[in-house]
Amino acid sequence: MTFQVERVPHAGTATPSFRQRLEHIWETEPGVAGFFSTVDHKKIGIRYIITAFIFLAAGGIEALILRLQLARPNQNLLAPEQYDQLFSTHGMTMIFLYALPVLSGFSNYLWPLILGARDMAFPRVNALSYWLYVASGIFMYVGFFMGAGPNDGWFNYVPYANRTYNPGLSMDFYSLGMVFLGISTTVGAANFVVTFLRLRAPGMSINRLPVMTWGTLTASAANLLVVPSVSLAFFMLWLDRNFGTHFFDVSKGGQPLLWQHLFWIFGHPWVYALVLPAMGMVSEGLPVFCRRPLVGYSAVVLATLATMTLGFGVWVHHMFATGLPNLAMSFFSGISLIITIPSAVTVFCWTATIWTGRPVITTAFLFFASTIILFVIGGVSGFMTGSVPADWQLNDTYFVVAHIHYVLLGINVFPVCGALYYWFPKMTGRLLDERLGQWNFWTMFVGFNLAFLPMHLTGLLGMPRRIYTYPAGVGWDTLNMITTIGAFILAVGVLLLFINVVTSLIGGALAGANPWDAPTLEWSVPSPPPPYNFAVLPKVASRYPLWESRLQASRGASSVTEGALLDHERETFGVTPLDGEPDIILKMPFDSYAPFVLTVGTTAIFVGLLLHRHLWPLAIVGAVIAAASLLAWLWPERRLGQTVEAAP
């Protein structure tokens, strides 16, 4: 291998003293100081996952209360306003505070390990992205606990969101909170894109990238393009509400339809951003349990890219009933049907992987394989709603509610559970219990399908969504009761998962480095991995470095024990985007309080804006804090500069 970097690093194998030296360079300070200053992607990733699961539990409890209200006709458990805030908060929580963050958590944890790097491209940005996520989540939940949670559904149509029809702070909390969360999503997405392009093991060319990274890459690229649309929409709404602008105000020439366009230009690609990384995890994990490489790596990668690209051209299928011209609707209807093809490619590749492999039926396998079935169900109902005349009927009924739950649980929650069973041993060094795991899977699977499969029928029988109660005798009673029972069984399943996590953390079987005999780089390091990930930076010569001797699939030879020794401060390789040739030794930043303080400042800005009538100076204080922490963040440090030395 020829290095074209500033200095030629020493090559060799890692000695215990070398490992100790790396440990000293990379470890996070213990205790409170380390907690607020760490930039270790593994710690941040696990925090992301835990926080997202807390929000999942909150959203789940909200859902159960909703289901109690809907279990029977004409119930009075909740007043209309309580029901409205609960269903809106449930949507906000699951879609914005659980579904993407949990995937960011897994990607944060896994990317450097699976790519053969020592951290993400911008470790401090990584920390910032997490802190902003938590702060914006708390911000929106403070509103909810004050009785000012969102109350207009997660897509928040105007004019109902305008001040005239929606006084109080609900919409101000939600709109500012979404702008706030958008910052976190954007900086996180930028970090993933750069990491994907630059921070990989030498030799990991673009065709050898682990398949899961493609999912998160496309999702991140999409987020960079569409999050500005929704942030703008929410900011305009906030201006309308507080400063008398008229973007959406009909009486002054504003346009309610503008909101729907701005929201769905974001909203539909966002749904793909919530599932593509999870599909990547299935493509990564499922073949391991089928004891073979994925069938059609290139096909799956191209399908991922195609889905995202087409995903920008389907947003109008949320707006077929708004009086748009037939020509426009036909175009969007066509794309909404065509987008099925790349999804079909992925589903067929997974199925072929099972048929040409030797499946080992573990809990992780069950979660991954069930994803295929749930994806098909969620997919075909999406295909039906893509057809304009059929959608005029299906839209805004429980059929669509069933569809979105098959998509978001089927292709997000189920693969995430599979990923947890698969990667938990890497994260903690202990295996999750398989026996409890089987119970966990089957309870969730039965509960989920019992709740949401009959819900399609509730929709076909005409039950509109978002009604807080319904009359008896119109055909929905039994089905709603079944759904409520299913929802509670599903909740028990999730509870079993939590129990399994806690008990396995304490007394689970020790995992060792590679309990599943898996092929990718994260399994070449101890479980849990040391702070520096790789003592020597691995060299990659195939897609499956740990299987290649058995598959005889590579031209050269990958090496995980012998390679470059980078130990001048925190260092890792930067590589060329296509060929994976190292072209720079990157100096990675040290732990810092700046991301946390910047988040505190940003939070103060948003609280100041929320209460601008009384507390506007707080926004200025926040801006000063934010500016000061940015200055500290960007202050040049000598030890982050590259030192040139003579080749040995």
Partner: protein
């Protein structure tokens, strides 16, 4: 085109009993067909859409069945022997004809999708406009929190009828519906006759419907519009043309003069209710709430919330906020005798 028209019509009529059978299996407590289902339809706009929806549903069910069987069978059939605790002991495989089957599957999927797309476009073209040759009736419908106002338009201003929540239409004549959003966005939907169209403030949307047989069709707002979104239903009543004309003539008349014993009730009504409600022929001329000139001709109260019985009428006037919390009709705190007089007067508005 007419032949296709007849074919789909026949097909959906043949499907209807089957559909009803399947649906009623799952909706056991409901004796009649569920009032809001769209898997059974009526009229030239509904037939092609009902067939399309069934068609797509059946394709979907076939796809789900095939894929579920494939995944389960694959997992069971190819699974490694049980009891083999060590995953390393299962040898690695590679190669195989997987990709060829993927290609095969994608080609079939593509053909089915292309067919569905053509079908979709054909139905879209068919139902976009009312059939040519029949002169349509035009109704302007305004969605507002949380009821529906209708104005039957006519070139003659004295023939313009304003009513609420229960709209009669003639069988066999297309009806153009102009939709207005008065406050927030609402969504006009009569599942058995037509799909949804939003009523958006600042924009007039148009849709149409036609019933081919007499009946009472339930409609409902389906765009979330606030606290009482759940109680924003309406009814489309299809009458034979002569019955419809009689209804229209009757509705255009002002209310009959109040008899001597109802005078007090009428005065109270004008005093307490007249700022919001209209009763034509009296001083009550408010336009922000439903026109009550012939309120007793309607079968429900408060946009489908309650059956229009004497008891419900008293309950509604006495306690609108506990029956439909948050709606725009305030609790009036009427005394018992006043309440009786007002509702007795209302019951004369036939």
């Amino acid at each position: 085109m007419n032949a296709i028209n007849r074919d789909t019509r026949r097909a959906s009529r043949a499907l209807a009993p089957l559909a009803f059978g399947i649906l009623s299996l799952f909706a056991l407590p409901a004796r009649a067909a569920p009032p809001l289902t769209y898997m059974i339809g009526d009229g030239p706009k509904a037939y092609p859409v009902v067939s399309l929806t069934w068609g797509l549903l059946i394709i979907s069910l076939i796809v789900i069945t095939i894929m579920t069987v494939l995944v389960c069978l694959g997992a069971v059939h190819r699974r490694s022997p049980r009891g083999d605790l060590s995953i390393e002991a299962v040898p690695l495989l590679h190669g195989g004809a997987g990709l060829r089957w993927v290609g095969f599957g994608v080609v079939i999927t593509g053909i089915v999708l292309f067919g569905s797309l053509i079908w979709t476009m054909a139905v879209l073209a068919r139902v976009s406009n009312p059939p040519a040759g029949k002169s349509p009736l035009t109704i302007e419908i305004t969605g507002q929190q949380w009821w529906w106002k209708a104005r039957y338009l006519s070139a003659d201003p004295s023939k313009v009828l304003t009513t609420a929540d229960e709209f009669h239409i003639p069988v066999g004549q297309p009806v153009r519906v102009k939709l207005i959003g008065a406050d927030v966005i609402h969504n006009f939907w009569v599942p058995a006759l037509t799909g949804k169209m939003q009523a958006i403030p600042g924009k007039i949307n148009e849709t149409w419907l036609e019933a081919s047989k007499p009946g009472r069709y339930r409609g409902q707002c389906t765009e979330y519009c606030g606290w009482q979104h759940a109680h924003m239903a309406f009814f489309v009543v299809a009458d034979p043309p002569d019955v419809f004309q009689a209804w229209l003539t009757k509705q255009l008349e002002p209310a009959a003069p109040a008899s001597a014993q109802d005078q007090h009730g009428q005065q109270l009504f004008q005093q307490h209710c007249g700022l919001c409600h209209t009763v034509r022929g009296t001083l009550a001329g408010g336009t922000v709430a439903p026109d009550l000139t012939h309120v007793m001709s309607r079968e429900t109260l408060a946009a489908g919330t309650l059956p229009n019985t004497p008891g419900n009428l008293v309950g509604w006037v006495a306690n609108p906020q506990s029956i439909k919390p948050g709606n725009n009709m305030p609790d009036l705190f009427l005394s018992g005798p006043d309440l009786t007089d007002i509702t007795t007067y209302l019951r004369t508005l036939k």
